[in-house]
């Protein structure tokens, strides 16, 4: 269940980083990777796991980089992808952006990191906050680091001790998005709200936090009913053994992190209803009429609504007529993008275009409050400021047509 080696290639297949963990793999195998992936892409069979001549490549494409784990023996494939994403997360925290340039500038740190996060193909300490306490971008001397290793062995492996802030603050961001799928007959096939609670913690010491959740989330956690799709997942710091109580308890890591994410099945009607009609006006012309209706209160408005209509590759000379917003044809994505800056509730806008379409995505705002209260408990009893903000992001709207 282990990784033989980890490679990072640039878009042309040149190896930027290679770290051999088990010595059972030849360095040259990586030269096979790019031809292999090109071949698969041509035949349309590209999958995240490719096999060639006894070696398996599990790769993630990220910012024009290929991050590849090579596997020689039977391995746990979910572990490898989880690890690669963890590595991306760590590298992003270190260099603010993982890209070719930042790799070239930080070879040494990267090698040290790779050495620390994996040993003999098995993941080790992968908590970026902890790694940052003993692998620095700047060089340092031995005497500075007498107490550091305690962190690695702590029961609370995600939070170093001795953090001090002059101003103790706590920010909670609730970000939600609505995913909706409507079938050709216009009935809603799936409808869910996916949300996550992000936190930015600037608190001193080892605070124990208690977060009160609204009943709806509690229901999701406690429901044993297989029929509901509602579910929650938590950050490592949350005491999983106590989640069945009304609150969740945790000692937060320092800085930004995602506390929990959840999904809820709701019976809300789509905020923006889309209707389309296809007219084959002649053999060479197809006209599509799209009508969008805002189904929310007229007092609120949606801003920056974007409707993407994928179309065939062989369309040309688009003609648009719209009652509001601006539509444009994006040939490289084979889509029409219809942007509506200002979309008041209860109103209706329409667009006429000449394309086939199968999916629509849109962005809008919605309000929901899953959090009741937040309590900070720390031995020194300082006062902490808590800020809560709710936002709704674009989810995936899918409307199908015949």
């Amino acid at each position: 269940m282990s990784l033989s080696a980890l490679f990072i290639l640039d878009i042309n297949g040149t190896a930027l980083i290679s770290r051999d963990y088990r010595g059972d793999i030849n360095k040259e195998v990586i030269d096979n990777f790019l031809p292999l992936i090109t071949r698969h892409e041509e035949t349309g069979t590209s999958a995240p796991v490719l096999h060639h001549n006894g070696t398996t490549f599990a790769y993630v494409k990220f910012n024009n980089l290929y991050i590849i784990g090579t596997i020689k023996r039977n391995a746990n494939i979910a572990l490898i992808f989880t690890f690669i994403y963890k590595f991306i997360e760590i590298a992003t925290q270190y260099f603010s952006k993982l890209e070719e340039e930042s790799i070239r500038d930080n070879f040494v740190v990267l090698y040290e990191l790779l050495d620390e996060i994996m040993d003999f193909g098995y993941p080790q300490t992968t908590e970026p906050k902890i790694l940052q306490t003993y692998i620095f971008q700047e060089s340092y001397k031995l005497k500075k680091m007498t107490s550091v290793p305690a962190v690695v062995t702590n029961v609370v492996s995600w939070r170093p001790e001795g953090i001090r802030y002059r101003r103790n603050e706590l920010f909670i961001d609730v970000v939600e998005s609505v995913n909706l799928s409507v079938n050709a007959k216009g009935s809603v096939v799936s409808n869910e709200v996916a949300g996550c609670v992000k936190m930015k913690v600037h608190l001193s010491g080892m605070p124990q936090l208690r977060l009160g959740l609204s009943d709806k989330i509690l229901l999701a956690i406690n429901s044993q009913d297989a029929g509901s799709l509602e579910d929650v997942k938590f950050h490592q710091c949350v005491q999983l053994s106590r989640i069945f109580e009304k609150n969740i308890y945790f000692i937060p890591p320092d800085g930004d992190f995602e506390l929990m994410s959840y999904r809820m099945n709701t019976d809300i009607k789509p905020l923006i209803a889309i209707q389309t009609k296809v007219v084959h006006s002649s053999s060479s012309r197809i006209e599509y009429a799209v009508k969008a209706t805002a189904q929310f209160k007229s007092s609120s408005t949606a801003s920056n609504v974007e409707v993407t209509l994928p179309v065939c590759q062989d369309v040309d000379s688009p003609v648009f007529r719209s009652s509001s917003g601006a539509a444009s044809y994006v040939p490289e994505e084979c889509a029409v993008v219809w942007k509506i800056k200002y979309f008041p509730g209860g109103s209706e806008v329409a667009l006429n275009a000449q394309f086939r379409l199968s999916s629509i995505r849109s962005e809008e705002k919605r309000e929901k409050t899953p959090i009741k209260y937040m309590k900070v408990i720390e031995k020194s009893n300082y006062k902490a400021l808590t800020w809560v903000r709710y936002t709704t992001q674009n989810g995936e709207y899918l409307v199908s047509f015949n």
Partner: protein, 688 residues
């Protein structure tokens, strides 16, 4: 140029200034990573291992690991320093040195490494002991003959109170001696109870280990008769009797064994349940596996919930989950039917994910969702992508094979495909129509006629589609007049056809000949003449066979008719599977559909499971139910309905859990202070 560089680097390395050393080492590391062979620095770099700066040491280790195999002799010289570092006052240096030393892949060094780990296994610092555990498996990979001495150290480490050490030693256990369950018995409870507190990667190992352990040590909760969820109590009595045909059996004893194993199993499942909420996909998948392989069917619903959560995750992770879901849903569709929505195809999904989702959907087909799914499949069948379109079309036909009432609807949507202008749509539609028509007792001739007209017009171009049309006409319309026209066209183009189509034309002409000897005789002669001289052996062989059948009068006409025109057996398209169902879930082998090096079967449930006395600690907890054994066993045997059974089980569990918590708290009281003190003790304190 290079020489000059070497000189300057060497000067920097020789300098007593740490900054200079670092600078040189960093430059060498950069060169190394860009593929330049920097082995010429080896002697100079190795010297620097004595440096007191951790940063320098770390870079030197990095360098040594890369070139050690090449410079074995020089490495031997530095071993002394390694040994000194392993006894360094700073625990971090000890850990790093140990890791680097055991990372060197020289069999020669294995005995030295062994001595080193023997010492560090008793280190005061948990982190060092964890590294020691990892070192064990590295030494084992290097030299398997040291197994016995390694296991000795491992046993010592398994007793460790610190969780990180336990996690590391479980990993070593799994790699060195996964079959030695006898070593785990004593720790089983600790592992199960504290798995929530492990770090996520250790959780993974623990889960894997427990799955293996559970298969060997516990009774199968789903076995017929014995099943504790299966409400047929008569069945269980029968099985119990069968266990001892002489009727001398001690009923209580058997019940005791069964109940105890089930309770232990429950404890495992209950403790692992919390891990369903982990954020780490790999952990969740592993818990799902554990449930899938160890839990009674009634608990399977939880797997569905947890797994579907990751379907909407990053595409690579989603891919690995979907493959597992596909395999699970084949045998247990009921786990995922409530989550049907998760598997609807989105346009933004990559192709592989779309295809996997479709085969999952087909696995989930049942009475209540067929109407939704049929519409979905219909939509996929008109997709731009030929592969997706094919999957959709096949899905439609599969739908009909399970639910014949959808025959008409399916026919209608396939017909829409063949009237379109796109070649691939026509192809997939025709092939599917062939499959579909074959299933119906009475073939709708209008469709065959329509297809043949299309064929005559030349608008059926692809090989697959031509094959299907010729087969359909030959099979069902050989009596019709227009069949001859089709033959005419086929004969006219014969020379330019693909080999496969040629074979089909041969069959076709033979079928027509049987039905209508006079009108087709000329065509038959002509085609047989061409085919006899074909380059392809298959075609020549086929011609020989058919001509002796038709021209020679070896057998009667009725028999020839029987050979060529008897109704063919129906073969439904199968749901295409992208994984191998029999291999262990979540592994690379499962994904690649074949056994990869290092693959290990999951052990079968052992028939004589449940020697609870092995897990000494557990005996204490099990005492509880034993006292009530009489009442309970009779309750179990008499109860014929599920509900009662459940409540019996639950009572058991409740009894245990109170015991659990008590022992748990006492255990943590004992262990934790030690944990802290050892973690906090600074090296100087320890020295004094």
């Amino acid at each position: 140029m290079m020489n000059k560089a070497i000189v300057s680097e060497n000067r920097l390395l020789d300098s007593s200034n740490i900054d200079d050393n670092l600078q040189a080492l960093k430059r060498i590391t950069t060169l190394m990573s860009s593929g330049v062979d920097v082995s010429c620095f080896f002697p100079f770099v190795v010297k620097k291992i004595v440096s007191d700066c951790l940063e320098v040491k770390r870079l030197v280790y990095l360098y040594i690991l890369r070139y050690a195999e090449k410079e074995a002799e020089l490495i031997l010289m530095s071993v002394n320093t390694f040994q000194k570092d392993i006894k360094h006052t700073d625990p971090f240096i000890r850990a790093n040195a140990l890791r680097a030393l055991t990372g060197i892949r020289l069999k020669l060094l294995a005995p030295i490494m062994l001595t080193a780990v023997q010492g560090s296994a008793r280190d005061f610092f948990p982190y060092v002991r964890k590294i020691t555990a990892h070192a064990l498996l590295k030494i084992y990979a290097l030299d398997a003959t040291l197994k016995d001495s390694l296991i000795e150290i491992l046993i010592q480490l398994l007793h460790d109170r610190s969780l990180i050490v336990l996690g590391g030693s479980l990993l070593a256990f799994q790699n060195i001696c996964p079959e030695r369950h006898d070593l785990l018995h004593a720790h089983y409870r600790t592992i199960v109870r504290r798995s929530v507190d492990f770090d996520e990667w250790s959780q993974l190992i623990a889960l894997q280990l427990l799955t293996q352990y559970g298969r060997v040590q516990f009774a199968n909760p789903n076995r017929d008769g014995k099943s504790f969820d299966n409400s047929s109590s008569e069945g269980s009595v029968a099985t119990l009797k069968a266990l001892d045909p002489d009727h001398k059996w001690n009923m209580h004893l058997i019940i005791k064994v069964l109940i105890i194993t089930i309770i232990i199993n429950r404890l495992l499942l209950e403790c692992m349940h919390n891990l369903f909420y982990s954020r780490n996909g790999a952990v969740v998948l592993e818990v799902c596996k554990l449930y899938y392989y160890l839990a009674p069917y009634s608990e399977f619903s939880q797997i569905g919930r947890a797994m579907c959560r990751f379907v909407a995750s990053r595409k690579e992770i989603s891919y690995s989950f979907l493959l597992n879901i596909e395999t699970m849903s084949k045998r247990h569709p009921e786990i995922f039917t409530p989550h049907l929505q998760s598997f609807l195809v989105y346009t933004s999904d990559p192709l592989q994910i779309k295809l996997t989702k479709i085969s999952i959907l087909l696995n989930l087909l049942n009475d209540s969702n067929v109407s939704i799914l049929f519409n979905e499949l219909k939509m996929y069948s008109t997709n731009e992508n030929p592969k997706l379109c094919e999957a959709g079309v096949q899905g439609l036909v599969y739908c009909v094979s399970l639910f014949p009432k959808y025959y008409k609807l399916c026919l209608k949507s396939l017909f829409r495909l063949i009237t379109s202008k796109k070649e691939y749509l026509i192809e997939k539609g025709t092939v599917a129509l062939r499959n579909l028509l074959q299933t119906s007792p009475k073939v709708d001739m209008r469709i065959v006629r329509y297809l043949s007209r299309k064929y005559l017009k030349g608008s059926i171009k692809t090989t697959e589609a031509q094959l299907s049309v010729l087969w359909l006409v030959g099979e069902f319309a050989y009596n019709e007049n227009w069949a001859l026209q089709v033959l005419q066209t086929a004969v006219k183009n014969y020379k330019n056809l693909d080999d496969e189509v040629k074979l089909q034309v041969l069959n076709f002409v033979s079928k027509l000949h049987v039905a209508n000897v006079e009108s087709s005789a000329e065509y038959l002669e002509y085609i047989f003449f061409l085919a006899k001289n074909d380059q392809n052996t298959d075609i020549r062989e086929r011609t020989c066979f058919l001509s002796s059948l038709l021209v020679g009068s070896l057998i009667s006409a009725a028999e020839v008719h029987k050979v060529l025109l008897s109704r063919k057996s129906v073969c439904f398209p199968k749901v295409p599977s992208s994984t191998n169902r029999d291999l262990v879930l979540g592994t690379l082998s499962h994904l690649l559909k074949r056994k990869v090096c290092g693959y290990r079967e999951l052990p079968k449930f052992s028939p004589t499971a449940g020697g609870s006395s092995l897990r000494e600690q557990e005996v204490r907890a099990v005492e509880n139910p034993l006292q009530e054994e009489k009442v309970l066993s009779s309750a179990y045997l008499l109860s014929s309905n599920q509900h009662e059974l459940d409540s019996v089980e639950e009572n058991f569990y409740l009894g245990i859990s109170s015991e659990e918590t008590r022992s748990d708290s006492s255990a943590s009281e004992n262990s934790e202070p030690i944990d802290y003190s050892s973690a906090d003790s600074s090296p100087t304190e320890r020295e004094s």
